[in-house]
């Protein structure tokens, strides 16, 4: 082994590095991350008046993806067809998924069906779900006599 700075300070050096690694691990936990239990995995964004759902669906045909909204629930249906390699050829590896999927999620508020907007770009689906006007909290003014 070579005589290096890190060897001279031996244990302390490694300890410092270990702390660095640990602090990085903890900082990763600061995002509200949860493991997906259903396919496709979805991220939920909100600003109080609107929820935005994003999902990674690479290779899915946006024209054949079905998005429907009823009351509080959003349903996304779609499929991915395996790419045609011309019949011949042998697989070295096959890791990408194929087939159809359906996922339904329920939001904590009524969705304004007329203003729902969906966008698909670079393999990422983004659905904007505005909260229905009737569902929004009404401000009550206090009168004094």
């Amino acid at each position: 082994m070579f005589w290096t700075e890190s060897n001279r300070y031996g244990r302390n050096w490694d300890l410092l590095r270990e702390f660095e690694r640990m602090s990085r691990l903890f900082s990763d936990l600061s995002t509200p991350f949860d493991r997906a239990t259903e396919f496709p995995a979805m991220n939920l964004w909100s600003d109080g008046n609107e929820a935005v759902i994003t999902s990674e669906l690479p290779g899915v045909d946006p024209g054949k993806t079905d998005i429907s909204v009823v009351g509080k629930t959003l349903t996304v249906k779609g499929s991915r067809i395996p790419e045609d390699s011309g019949g011949e050829g042998s697989y070295h590896r096959q890791e990408r998924w194929n087939g159809s999927f359906t996922r339904t999620i329920e939001l904590p508020f009524q969705i304004d069906q007329n203003r729902v907007a969906a966008r698909f770009s670079k393999g990422i689906l983004e659905v904007r779900l505005p909260r229905a006007e009737a569902d929004k909290p009404r401000k009550i003014t206090i009168t004094t006599n």
Binding site: A36, L44, W45, P58, D61, G89, R93, R96, K122, G123
Partner: protein, 135 residues
């Protein structure tokens, strides 16, 4: 769910101990299909969030490296309240045994899927020896 099992979680790429990447994002290994045909090898990789300007492909000696950068998405003033997947860059490297014709490599990105066509070099094709079953 369909008949085929789907990987629910993206796989994070491993980094050597003590070495950090310059960009502080997470790095994932894109799921890939590799099909070898008579004249070429086709590599397909799922890289959502990547387009033709942010994907980088290098072939050095026989190591094919695919990397892609993804700009963290934030829809307006919205806050991320619940996350089931992480967003980050992509990195993956393969060793290719066949001799590849570098000048004719074709790469395209569509809907977040990278498709690479690596044509086999002419000399590699001719070197192939056909094995026949003995009568």
């Amino acid at each position: 769910m369909s008949d085929t099992a789907k990987e629910l979680q993206k796989k994070e790429a491993s980094t050597p101990e003590g070495i950090e990447r310059t960009r502080p994002h997470k790095v994932y290994t894109p799921a890939a299909d590799i099909v070898e045909r008579q004249d070429d090898i086709i590599v397909t990789a799922d890289m959502p969030g990547v387009d033709e300007n942010t994907v980088d492909i290098t072939l050095e000696k026989n190591v094919l490296t695919i990397s892609g950068t993804v700009a963290p998405l934030s829809p307006g003033s919205h806050r991320l309240v619940f996350a089931e997947y992480g967003v980050g860059d992509y990195h993956r490297a393969f060793t290719i045994t066949e001799e590849v014709d570098r000048d004719r490599i074709h790469a395209s990105v569509k809907n977040g899927v990278l498709r690479l066509v690596l044509p086999k070099a002419a000399e590699a094709k001719s070197r192939k020896i056909e094995v026949r079953s003995a009568a």
